[in-house]
């Protein structure tokens, strides 16, 4: 579908993209992940033919972007970081212009535009000037533009930036829906988005591809082990003694806990070993009750931090350990936040649904 070979882009002395190669298969959703300034937008601009690379080749459906640009560009719908909108047009005029620009046949235009406006939910603003639309609606008009002509490949540069949580979920659902019939490439620096939407993740750091795999495999990739977190009632020394007695434990850490008379324990085991039952019996035998036990895999976030970290390899091990602690705190925080956020969204959508119902009744 898309083949990118040895792509290099230099701006003066600065190398934005450094020898990037990858292939994109048909009918999947790909996520470009990387910190700000990693070269995501530059790469997308090159794939879509907006920028020319310093070196390398881009093939789209077998068409070379720089030798047969018109053929190659026909296969792509592109939503850049800043939607390319004309402020003095209405969405309807704008989409008509895009359809004509992309060579959609005249008879098919009205129907196609109506359908796309329905999917992106902009039918109710179709006759207002784009200048007067909110950021969320502008983003959707930009997305509608990318869908015009139903190109086989749709490339979206940070499609959910600047949207409210409800809109983000709507756009994500739309992208998932698009993934059924199109190849979608989206970029993001938001991890939860990529792991929620994409079938395949490519992590880019400083212009280089540092990892590419499914989100699940990436999570396994870094740690290669399972992590158990326990809260145990009992003295620290006793717990340490019990844990030392167990052979399958690779590494453990004991910290103080917020619950009185308890300690918190983090245990790492080798991959595919389930210690939960053994631990339970062991501690019960010593009359140290386990109050809480939780299994956690390395999340995509850790993979991301690890792979895009600035440290050289020698310090990586150290980083990993600090990562371990950092993650614990973050997890607690993010879980709390997510719960809050989701609850808020549900309320909101419930509200709007009831509003709609009321309107209908009226």
């Amino acid at each position: 579908m898309i083949e990118v070979k040895n792509l290099v882009k230099r701006y003066g002395g600065h190398t934005a993209v450094n020898d990037l190669s990858f292939e994109v298969e048909e009918g999947q959703i790909y996520g470009f992940l990387g910190p700000n300034g990693a070269g995501k937008s530059t790469t997308m601009n090159i794939i879509t033919g907006y920028l020319a690379p310093s070196e390398g080749q881009v093939l789209i459906n077998g068409h070379d972007m720089f030798e047969e640009p018109e053929e190659a560009k026909k296969c792509i719908g592109y939503l850049p970081e800043q939607p390319p909108l004309y402020m003095d047009m209405t969405p309807l005029e704008y989409l008509n212009f895009c359809a004509e620009l992309k060579g959609v046949e005249k008879e098919k235009r009205p129907e196609m535009i109506r359908e796309i406006m329905g999917r992106t939910k902009i039918l109710d603003v179709k006759d207002r000037l784009i200048r007067n639309l909110s950021k969320g609606y502008r983003q959707r008009v930009g997305l509608a533009q990318a869908l015009i002509g139903y190109p086989p490949v749709i490339i979206l540069d940070e499609p959910t930036v600047g949207l409210d949580p409800k809109q983000i979920i709507e756009i994500r659902d739309l992208i998932k829906d698009l993934g059924k019939h199109h190849t979608v490439i989206l970029s993001s620096h938001i991890l939860s988005e990529v792991s929620a939407v994409c079938d395949f993740v490519m992590i880019i750091s400083r212009g280089e591809l540092v990892a590419s795999d499914t989100p699940d495999n990436l999570s396994k990739l870094v740690l290669g082990s399972n992590v158990l977190e326990l809260t145990v009632k009992g003295a620290k020394e006793k717990v340490e003694q019990i844990l030392k007695g167990m052979e399958q434990i690779r590494e453990f850490e004991i910290h103080s806990s917020t619950t009185p008379d308890c300690v918190a324990v983090t245990i790492k085991t080798n991959e595919m070993v389930d210690l939960r039952e053994d631990l339970s019996y062991e501690f019960a035998g010593e009359r140290c009750p386990i109050l809480e036990m939780k299994q956690s895999n390395m999340s995509l976030e850790d993979v991301f931090l690890e792979l895009t970290a600035e440290q050289p390899k020698a310090e990586a091990e150290k980083a990993k350990r600090s990562l371990f602690r950092r993650r614990k705190k973050k997890e607690e925080l993010t879980i709390a936040e997510e719960v809050e956020q989701e609850a808020g969204i549900r309320e909101e959508s419930a509200d709007s649904e009831t509003e709609q119902k009321q309107e209908v009744e009226k």
């Binding site: 701006y11 909108l85 895009c98 004509e100 620009l101």
Partner: protein, 287 residues
């Protein structure tokens, strides 16, 4: 190309620019028409158009300033350049739309000779030839303005620079008259030009050897011509300066002749600046 042409034309008439351009041109032509044709009882519209042509210094920058600068500022060029349309078609669509905006007042001017014909005998052939020349003059100025708009992201800079360049071109006839036409003047002027060229090439390539070699070769050839055939250089710089004078060609139309050379001159100016616009957009992709 048609999509871009239609969109541009529509946007000139949804904003005020299309109307302002038509109004300014028609007011200027109207005043000169009243003074030269109605008051002085002349049946030939050429002098009125010649007088009114000075308005292109204002009208053309207003018309061309946003054509490409605005696309680059608002990043809508990303839409145009990633659509299956070549850059050449984008440039042509925009150029033709701007020419069409100026075509509206020109079409209205086409009725003036008919109005004069009600009162006497009118030289129709030379009248319409001068109106044609008027259109060519504006089209050439539009091509220059479009190129200037393509090298900047700011409409204001595009407008000011376009005005400056067109104004300089207007003055060029006078400047070339002031320069003496001896071979020595040409030698000095061309040497200055070669030095400027050397710095320009150095600025573009950041390479020392190429511009120095090119500069020395050009200067050597120039001195050789000066020593061997100094007659060739006499008045050469004046010719170069005259070729930058976009107005003087229009005067041949005003004098009542349809000069093929002048038509070709305007068509080449249009072609050259459309090509330069294309190159300037293309360069943006590579830098």
């Amino acid at each position: 190309m048609l999509a871009i042409y239609k969109k541009e034309l529509k946007s000139y008439y949804t904003s005020m620019i299309g109307y302002v351009v038509a109004a300014l041109t028609l007011v200027a032509v109207g005043i000169y028409f009243y003074a030269y044709n109605l008051l002085s009882l002349s049946p030939f519209i050429g002098y009125a158009l010649s007088g009114a042509s000075i308005t292109l210094l204002i009208v053309v920058p207003i018309l061309t300033m946003r054509s490409l600068a605005e696309e680059q500022r608002s990043k809508t060029d990303q839409l145009l350049l990633t659509a299956p349309v070549s850059i050449g078609k984008v440039v042509m669509g925009k150029f033709l739309a701007m020419v069409s905006v100026i075509l509206l007042p020109v079409v209205i001017i086409c009725f003036y000779p008919l109005a004069l014909a009600l009162f006497g005998k009118v030289p129709f052939l030379s009248s319409y030839s001068v109106i044609f020349g008027f259109l060519l003059l504006y089209a050439a100025a539009i091509a220059v303005g479009m190129f200037i708009s393509s090298i900047t992201e700011s409409q204001i800079i595009a407008a000011v620079v376009s005005f400056g360049v067109l104004f300089l071109s207007f003055l060029m006839g006078g400047i070339s008259g002031m320069v003496s036409d001896t071979a020595k003047t040409s030698l000095i002027a061309f040497t200055v030009l070669i030095i400027a060229l050397v710095f320009l090439i150095y600025g573009m390539t950041k390479n020392v050897v190429v511009p120095v070699v090119v500069g020395l070769a050009a200067e050597g050839a120039l001195i050789a011509v000066y020593l061997l055939k100094s007659a060739w250089l006499a008045g050469a710089i004046n010719k170069v300066l005259n070729s930058l004078d976009i107005m003087s060609r229009f005067n041949t139309f005003v004098n009542g002749t349809l000069d093929l050379g002048a038509v070709l001159y305007y068509l080449s100016v249009i072609g050259l600046f459309c090509f330069l616009t294309y190159q300037s957009i293309e360069k943006r992709r590579w830098s």
